[in-house]
Symmetry: C2
C-alpha cells in the first residue's frame, strides 16, 4: 500500500495553512463589515440538483456516485448552485440576503501544475435586490478586499451585459454565432485587435461585424469617454443605453462612497454568456503577479429562479484564494507566519519546572494571542535551539534546575542573540519587552 494523497489532491502544511488562514481572516473581516454572514451547505447534494447547471463539459467533472440508500449524490462543484438550493428551500427569507461561503469544491479536472481537484471558493452574494446600489456594493467589497490584502496596482474592470446584447443586436450578429464571438472577445487582453479580427472572420462574421467588435479594443480614456465611445459603437441601441446608464450609476455610487478607486469600464469583458444578466466584474493584478483575474462575478437575475420557482435577482463576486496565494508567493509578497513566538525548553531534571514556566507565560500572554510552546521532553539543548530556529520562534526560555531553585530562568532572543537571566516575577514583562524590541 502506497502512502500518498489521492491523484489531483494535496495537503496544506501548517506553514501553508497559517498563511491561508491569515488571508482568509482578513477577507472574512471585510465581508462581515459589509453585513455578509457565513452560510454552510453540505459537501454532498442530490446529483439531480447539480446536473443541468454546468454544461456537458462541467458535468463530466462532477464526482457523482450512489450512496448507501441508492440515491445518486454528487460533491458540490461550486457554491452558487447550493446557494440557489438554499434560497429555494427558504422561501420566507428576508431580503436583502447577504451571505458569504468559503469552502472547498471538487472537480475531476485533468491535473495540471498548480491546479487541483479540490480547491476553495470564496463567494459573497447579495440576494433579492436588483439595484445599482447592490451592483456598486460588489465593487466596494472587491476594492476593500484588495486594500485589506495590501495589494497594489489592482484594476477592477466592469461591463454590463445589456451593453453587449445591444451591440450584438446593433451589429446583427446571428444568435448561433454569439457564443463563439463572445469567447473570442473575452481574449481582448491577451491578443491584438488584428488577431482577434482574424478569429472573428474565421467564425463567419461579416467585415462590418468584425470591425464593430474589434472596435471595442480601441475604446480608451477616462470612464466617461469610454462609455460615450461604446454607445457610439453600439449605435445607441436601447439595451446598450440602459445597461450603461445603470453602470454609470454604480460608478457614481462607488465614487461617492470611497472617492477615487481603480474601477474601469471595460466594454469587451463578457464572462461567458449564459449566466450573467447585468453588471460583470473582473479584477486584474499588475504583471509581476503573473495571474489572470483574481476576483470576479456579476449579476445573475435568473439562476436562482430555477430552484425558487420565481425569479429572484442576485449579484455576487468571488475571490480566487488559491490563485491569489500563488500570485503573492510568485511576487515574493507572501507573508510567513510563525505559530509560536516563545519556546520553553525542557532540561533534564527540570521537567516540572518547565511546565511551571510555560504556565506563567501563558497566564500572562496567551490572552493576547501569543503562541507559547513547551518542548515536551528533555533533549540536547542544541537540538531544542535548532527546533526553535527552524520554526521561526523569537524567544527561547531556558529553565535550568539550579536557576529554578533561585526562582530564575535564562531568556534568549533568537534574533539578536541577547541572553538575560530574569526572575520568574519579571519573566512576563521581560519577554514582552524582547518581543516588542
Amino acid at each position: 500500500m502506497k502512502v500518498q494523497t489521492l491523484k489531483g489532491f494535496r495537503d496544506y502544511s501548517p506553514e501553508e495553512m497559517l498563511v491561508r488562514q491569515a488571508l482568509i481572516g482578513r477577507v472574512q473581516k471585510v465581508f462581515e463589515s459589509f453585513g455578509y454572514a457565513p452560510l454552510h451547505t453540505p459537501a454532498l447534494e442530490y446529483a439531480q440538483l447539480l446536473l443541468g447547471n454546468y454544461g456537458d463539459e462541467g458535468e463530466k467533472l462532477l464526482y457523482k456516485f450512489q450512496d448507501h440508500g441508492k440515491r445518486m449524490v454528487a460533491l458540490r462543484y461550486d457554491l452558487t448552485v447550493p446557494l440557489a438550493r438554499y434560497v429555494g428551500m427558504n422561501s420566507s427569507m428576508r431580503f436583502p440576503f447577504r451571505r458569504y461561503q468559503i469552502a472547498p469544491v471538487w472537480r475531476a479536472e485533468r491535473p495540471q501544475k498548480g491546479r487541483f481537484r479540490e480547491f476553495y471558493q470564496c463567494d459573497v452574494d447579495l440576494v433579492g435586490i436588483d439595484s445599482a446600489q447592490a451592483d456598486a456594493e460588489c465593487i466596494l467589497v472587491d476594492h476593500a478586499v484588495m486594500q485589506a490584502l495590501e495589494i497594489e496596482g489592482y484594476r477592477i474592470m466592469i461591463n454590463h451585459r445589456g451593453f453587449l446584447d445591444g451591440l450584438l443586436e446593433h451589429l446583427a450578429i446571428p444568435t448561433d454565432k454569439v457564443v463563439g464571438a463572445m469567447r473570442i472577445l473575452d481574449k481582448v487582453d491577451k491578443v491584438s485587435a488584428a488577431a482577434m479580427g482574424e478569429m472573428l472572420t474565421t467564425e463567419g462574421l461579416t467585415e462590418a461585424q468584425v470591425d464593430g467588435l474589434t472596435g471595442l479594443s480601441a475604446i480608451d480614456g477616462p470612464n466617461e469617454d469610454r462609455i460615450a465611445q461604446a454607445l457610439e459603437l453600439a449605435g445607441n441601441h436601447p439595451k446598450a443605453v440602459a445597461g450603461l446608464e445603470r453602470l454609470q450609476q454604480a460608478l457614481e455610487m462607488v465614487a461617492v462612497t470611497v472617492g477615487e478607486a481603480p474601477v474601469f469600464f471595460a466594454p469587451a469583458i463578457a464572462r461567458g454568456l449564459d449566466y450573467y444578466t447585468g453588471i460583470v466584474y473582473e479584477t486584474f493584478l499588475p504583471d509581476r503577479y503573473g495571474v489572470g483575474s483574481v476576483m470576479s462575478g456579476g449579476r445573475y437575475n435568473e439562476l436562482l429562479g430555477t430552484f425558487a420557482g420565481k425569479d429572484i435577482p442576485a449579484v455576487g463576486i468571488s475571490l480566487g484564494i488559491d490563485r491569489l496565494l500563488s500570485a503573492l508567493a510568485a511576487a515574493g509578497e507572501q507573508e510567513s507566519i510563525a505559530v509560536s513566538e516563545i519556546l520553553v525548553s525542557t532540561i533534564k531534571g527540570a521537567e516540572t519546572g518547565a511546565c511551571k514556566v510555560a504556565g506563567i507565560l501563558r497566564a500572562g500572554l496567551a490572552q493576547q494571542g501569543t503562541g507559547i510552546e513547551l518542548f515536551p521532553r528533555p533533549q540536547k539543548l542544541k537540538k531544542q535551539m535548532d527546533y526553535a530556529h527552524k520554526k521561526g520562534i523569537s524567544i527561547v526560555v531556558l529553565p535550568g534546575p539550579e536557576e529554578l531553585e533561585e526562582g530564575k530562568v535564562t531568556v534568549r532572543h533568537m534574533g539578536t542573540g541577547e541572553q538575560i537571566k530574569v526572575s520568574l516575577e519579571d519573566l512576563v514583562a521581560q519577554v514582552e519587552r524582547l518581543l516588542e524590541g
Copy 2:
C-alpha cells in the same frame, strides 16, 4: 425535482454559522496559544488507506466510490487516519509536531435526531514525543478550551490504559473476554454497580473477576486516595504501577502549571481498547447540559506506525463541536450574534446619499470589525426598520434627501428608541457613543 438537502445532511444558516464560527475562533486561539498549527488534508483519500482502521461496522459507513480514473476513493471518516498518512509521507518532519484540524468528516450513519452524516471534528495532536509533559499538555489544552468557552462545572476525567491492563491481568480475565468487559466498564457513569455486575456475570466472568471490576466504581476521594485504592484493586501489578506513576506525573505537571484544575483520576474509563496505549481523557459537563463527554482522546503510540513504517508516539484530544453547541443551546447558554450593528437605510431620492453615509461609517468603524450594511434600494421605512429589528441591528441611520442637503442625518438606536439628528462630521463619534451606551 424536489429542492432539498440530501438525506442525513443539513445546512447551517448564517445565524447558526455566526455562533459556530465564534466558538471555533475561541478554540483555535487556545490551540494556537499552545503552539498547535492548522493542517489541511483533502476530503477524499485512497479508500485503501482508510480501510482496516475503523472495524467492520465503521467500514460499512464509509462513503466509498470509484473516481474518474477507476481508483477506489473514500470521503474521510475521521481526521486521525489522514494525520497518520500525512506523518507517514513526511518522514523529515521535526518533532514535536503539533497540529490541529477542524474539518468535516462523513459517515453514512442511520440518521437520528441531532446526528448527521456530515459533522465536524476538531482535533489537536502532539506527535513524536512520549512523555508525561505531553500527556499533561492535552489536559491543559482541554482546561483552557473549557475556560475560554466560559463553561462552568466541567470535569476532566483521566485514566491510564496501563492501569487497566494490569488490573485485567491481575484478575486473570481471559483475552477473549477483555473487549466485552471493557465495553461494560465504560458504562460505569450510567448504570449501578449491581447492574454492571450482572452484565459482567452474563459475559461469563467469575465472581472474583466481577468483584474486582465492579470494585472500580467504589473508588472515591481525592486523586491521591483514588490512585492508592486502584493500585490495591490491581494487586500492585507492575503495569498498573507504571501507568499510574505516569498519570501522577501528568497530574503534578498540570497542578504546577495552572494550580487547581478539575481533573480527576477515573479508573473505569476505558475509551475502547484497540487504539489507545497510555493516558485517556474524557470531559463531562454538569447535568443541565444533557450530554456525554464533549472533549476526549488519549495517547496512541502505535497507530501512526502503520503508515510511517516505524512507531511514532502521539497523544491527542478532540472537541465535539456539534455536541457542545447543542448542549449550550439546550442549557440556554448559546450566545446570539448579529453580523451587522448598523443599517444605513435608503430613502427614495437619496440612494447616492445613502452610499456616501455608509462610506463614512465604514471608513470610521470597519477597521474595528463593526458590521455596517446598506439597505440597497429604497423601500418603505417601516419595512427597513422591521428588517433591522429582526436581524438584531442596534443602530439605523436614516439619510433623508432634505437633511442630507444640510449635511445631516437622523440616527436611531433600536434598543432605546433614542433618535437624534447629527451632522455628517459628527456621525462616526455619535454612532460610537450609541454603540457603547
